[in-house]
Subunit: 424 residues, 2 copies
């Protein structure tokens, strides 16, 4: 710890120290990597040409849990998911449309969300209470419900155990690439898989904003334990990324666990089985979170902000978030300008208490600021680091052992272009 | 109150209801409009060509007061001003350099700031304790002290009662125009003047960031009363603007009151004399604050965010600030996109408690969102309003009588260009 000056700018970025180590292996397949899940993505006519309707189906009832936006303005699907979760913990399907977010649409929005749920349930032959809806895209416009409903039978027909990729494509909005990943590990000798998909890409802060993620696993997990693991992993993944500080009305992370691996159930919030499962879940969610940061609107560079030497993890995270949210830091990184003063200023207004003269800052492996404002770094070395597509900024507060990391992207003209005319 | 839908988008923007009414008249002259003040701006060699050193001089000892940055990282001049104010309340001069901020420079920065104070004092023949220093520009680089010191005798020679404009020019950094104004009013039949100048233009939030303002008045005001009026006016002016949410290490607002008008002293924090004086002070500071918002880096539009119908003023201000700081709102306004959903979402994550279905939003005089998410506005009318260089966004929460206003600008590609290569 506390050695950011020797921390490797050359090593892989984004390797957060895992809470628990286990043998976790990446595999292909996204949400359809775990046993007993099928999925697809189709074009139903909300967008002009691209896929705009994703469906995930579990062959067996799956325990479900979700983390939802904390925005006071909550989209209809968020309210419906809340209600579904209040009445049941076993689910069969997730239906997601992109292109139009069904948010801020009052009673009609609620009606449309329930219609989507009912149509999906009857098409798939499952209960109305077993379907979770989600929606992303422009907010404030009514859902083209007819188009959406017409796509459901089509999607149901095309469900396949290889459909994870198509589903990941169908939830994209301004994303430039589909985001999915999956990992396996062994529980009592039985192979268990966790898969996931996500979409960004503007906003994404303060807490997992304009962000959807759907996670599947063939592990068997008790409802409360699943929720515990989901909350912890969300804190260490989606809540560590920021693109522009805005937070949306539709964000959700949903996990379904169908038990089809045949591994023994995870029954408690501690112990080896829990640790192995939650580490795998965290690995998938961190990987998706970093993909979102990397694909922030207009992003040309991935930024990792690491704060060490804080009083505790909370303080480290507060400082890291303040730097990650600074437009001035993000534009400087865009321009490859080693403007450490903006980094220090952003820590300064983060609200934490610290002694500025004790701070050390490095960009990649280049020490930029030493204690007592010691400068003397090589502008050339800094420039070299700042030309790279991935930049780690390390800030050592030199006052404790707390550390935290968060991820963001640079702020480019392209961000402005994308967001100046989003609706039109 | 509570009638934003009929509020005039056609009337002048930024007319905040004054706490007290009095006959206040605008006059020319900036900081040299009040009696007994002289000023100038010269080029001393910190910048390549433009003026980079401003000097304000009072012919008589003036009561001084200041509001300083709350950033934990405080520039050397901030620390020196604090020390000067702790030992005295009577001052003769303010010396400000632009082009290099003397921040984050440790002991050498402190030394340079005191050297500047001493050189100014000895050149002007006043006490070391009677000079207030200030500094703006790139942070983290040592002050070119030799250049700065060489400019002081030059500035002292050129001090003039018509020098307010030159001083305002000499404190500019990325500002595109010099910011100054002055007003007069009568105290017991005697004409009193308040003048001021300011510089922006990035950052400027959460609290008066990267922002300098110097106010002069020939009123006679007791030290505590002056400070009371300054604090109140700052809350209602510079703390109501935001450009990009960042807060700098060097911000300060200083006021000097030299009593040369001959009007009777303002001795208490209430009563007609106080109200008249503080209204004039507020008028100058609000005008300067709005100039700063208008001149935000890369700004093409001035935005006024007005929240009405809040539980109280604090709640209204929280909501207004959240909207004003939203990159997504600011880019939508840049593009002329009537994206009211982003406005509502920004209120949603501001942290206040409210019922989204009761919110009304208008852009200028065009109602965009009614209660219960009633839409049906004319995109054409909205587009017309959004093409204007000044846009008012009014948000009625419909839950009380509290209201507040704040000011900002749109977010353009030019902002990115300016800030991607600021140091180079």
């Amino acid at each position: 710890m506390n050695q950011p000056m020797t921390g490797g700018g050359d090593t892989e970025l984004g390797v957060q120290k895992p809470l628990h180590d286990g043998v976790i292996t990446e595999v292909a397949g996204g949400v359809t990597a775990p046993k007993g899940f099928r999925a697809t993505g189709v074009h139903c006519g909300i967008k002009a040409v691209k896929k705009d309707l994703a469906l995930i189906f579990s062959d067996a009832p799956a325990i479900g849990s979700a983390v939802l936006t904390t925005n006071k303005v909550q989209a209809a699907p968020i309210l419906v998911v809340k209600e579904q979760l209040a009445h049941s913990r076993a689910f069969r399907a997730i239906v997601v449309n992109s292109g139009n977010a069904n948010a801020c649409t009052g009673n009609r929005g609620m009606h449309d969300a329930w219609e989507t749920v009912e149509a999906t349930a009857s098409t798939l032959g499952v209960g109305r209470g077993e379907v979770l809806p989600s929606s992303t895209g422009v907010i404030g416009e009514y859902l083209p419900l007819k188009a959406l409903l017409s796509g459901i039978p089509l999607a149901a027909e095309q469900l396949s155990a290889e459909g994870g990729r198509a589903a990941a494509e169908a939830i994209m909005t301004t994303d430039t690439f589909a985001k999915e990943c999956a990992v396996t590990f062994f529980l009592d000798g039985v192979r268990v898989t966790v898969g996931g998909m996500a979409k960004g890409s503007g906003m994404i802060a303060p807490n997992m904003a304009t962000m959807l993620s759907f996670i599947t696993t063939d592990a068997a997990v008790e409802p409360d334990v699943l929720h515990h693991a989901l909350l912890r992993s969300t804190q260490r993944s989606f809540n560590r990324i920021t693109v522009d500080g805005d937070m949306s009305t539709n964000d959700m992370v949903v996990v379904l666990a169908n038990g089809r691996s045949g591994a023994p159930p995870v029954r408690t919030n501690s112990g080896k089985a829990y640790n192995d499962f939650s580490s795998a879940l965290e690995r998938v969610m961190v990987k998706l979170a970093k993909m979102i940061a990397r694909d922030g609107e207009g992003a040309t560079k991935f930024l990792e902000i690491e704060v060490t030497g804080a009083r505790d993890e909370k303080e480290a995270l507060t400082a890291a978030r303040s730097v990650a949210n600074s437009n001035l830091v993000k534009t400087a990184m865009h321009g490859g300008d080693a403007n450490w003063g903006r980094v220090l200023a952003a820590v300064g207004y983060s609200g934490i208490d610290f002694d500025p003269s004790q701070v050390e800052i490095s960009f990649g492996n280049v020490p930029i600021l030493g204690r007592n404002y010691a400068l003397g770094f090589s502008e050339e070395a800094a420039r070299e680091v700042l030309q790279r597509p991935e930049i780690r900024i390390t800030i050592n507060l030199n006052r404790g052992e707390g550390e935290a990391m968060c991820w963001t992207c640079d702020l480019s003209k392209e961000y402005v272009t994308i967001n100046a005319h989003y609706r039109t």
